[in-house]
């Protein structure tokens, strides 16, 4: 007996039924043991190391990451590295190689990243050593994530806490297409009680 299925094709009813049943009998494995929990944990962990640190604009970029990553890698390999200049940024003075903080003081240190062209998927790594820490990252010496830099000036405000008296370094590293630019700012943490005595 023949009929018309919902695609409009003439098929033998029995044949269509038989084929469909055969497809449904095909074995399909369940996820391997532990896969569900591992996959959920990875999704949350990925967000902690990227999205949670990033503004919404970069978060949206990351959601597209998987789509364009392959093409971007190819394109980046062929392109010349753009000149990136990093310097500590202070709107009232010339760039300072050194900054002074009072013990326990929290201050935003602005880092200006000038890029001659747009850089997709640059890796930004921030490290704080010695007497200073990044506010909110007490147990981690460095934090890195990926972001796209616009052509021109990109300003990154880093909250730094002066934990102990002495010297510290705030280091910013930008990596793109196998090239790296690094700048270190020295910070001196002063304990007012000690300096008065």
């Amino acid at each position: 007996m023949k009929g018309t299925d919902e695609t409009g094709s003439y098929v033998a009813d029995a044949d269509f039924h038989t084929l469909r049943q055969a497809l449904r009998r095909m074995p399909t494995p369940e996820p391997r043991a532990g896969f569900v929990e591992r996959a959920l944990a990875r999704a949350a962990a990925q967000e902690r190391t990227t999205g949670a640190l990033l503004p919404a604009r970069l978060g949206r970029f990351l959601s597209r990451w998987e789509t364009w990553a392959g093409a971007a890698l190819g394109a980046a390999a062929a392109a010349a590295m753009a000149l990136i200049l990093l310097r500590p940024f202070d709107s009232t003075q010339d760039p300072l190689p050194q900054l002074a903080l009072t013990l326990h003081e929290t201050r935003n240190v602005d880092v200006l990243i000038d890029s001659e062209r747009e850089l997709k998927g640059a890796t930004i790594r921030i490290a704080a050593t010695g007497s200073i820490e990044l506010d909110g990252f007490d147990d981690e010496q460095h934090v890195d994530w990926q972001a796209d830099l616009e052509r021109g000036s990109n300003l990154l405000s880093l909250p730094v806490v002066a934990r102990t008296a002495g010297k510290g370094e705030l280091i910013a590293v930008i990596e793109h297409a196998g090239r790296t630019r690094r700048v270190a700012v020295e910070l001196t943490v002063i304990d007012p009680k000690v300096s008065r005595s």
Partner: protein
């Protein structure tokens, strides 16, 4: 000037934990179904796991949207389908390719030209005895990925054509055409399997 905001982790840690718990609560029960679909589409355990992992990575930042959904599964399947298609396109443009029949869509709504759509005489009369699991599996593995998707979703998982058109984001006519071609191709492959089996006898 682009200001790149820096969010304090201390302020967000508690929220991250509760977000992870809620994300797991919303998705956990659906993951086996996503996995089964991914396995049927890809035909391999590793690729299925990778596809589901990519899906979860894509969904986590969209937790706010997930909370508002009445039906998570079709929405998530649509996202997974887009990821899968993107992967296929990259694989097809790379020197190393996975074997697949290229999908040739014809936007003619199936049923408008029944003579053209009728696969004609040939491998239609399939007996249950002939459709051994082994033969069906071999034919399935030879199908193009996009044919597998439409057959898996419609003929195995019972999504309706309108639902499937939404998931795959293609017009209904194109979908009907693709489903028809997928079935016809599967019949061809099964017929080839039948001939191979006859040669072996």
């Amino acid at each position: 000037m682009q200001r790149m905001a820096w969010l304090k982790r201390t302020a967000s840690r508690t929220a991250e934990t509760s977000d992870a718990v809620e994300f797991a609560r919303l998705l956990r029960d659906h993951i086996p179904a996503f996995y089964r679909a991914a396995y049927r589409w890809t035909g391999a355990v590793d690729r299925a796991e990778d596809l589901v992992q990519q899906l979860l990575l894509r969904l986590y930042p969209r937790l706010a949207e997930l909370r508002e959904l009445d039906q998570i599964r079709p929405w998530a399947l649509r996202v997974m389908y887009r990821i899968f298609i993107d992967q296929l396109r990259r694989e097809r443009s790379s020197p190393v390719q996975f074997g697949a029949d290229p999908v040739v869509d014809d936007d003619v709504a199936a049923g408008e030209d029944e003579a053209w759509l009728d696969p004609g005489p040939g491998p239609q009369e399939l007996s249950e005895r002939e459709l051994t699991q082994e033969r069906v599996l071999r034919a399935w593995e030879q199908l193009g990925e996009e044919h597998r998707v439409v057959l898996a979703m419609h003929d195995i998982e019972d999504y309706t054509l309108p639902e499937l058109a939404q998931i795959m984001e293609i017009p209904l006519g194109t979908l009907k055409s693709r489903l028809h071609r997928a079935r016809a191709r599967l019949r061809e492959l099964l017929a080839e399997e039948r001939m191979v089996a006859a040669d072996r006898v």
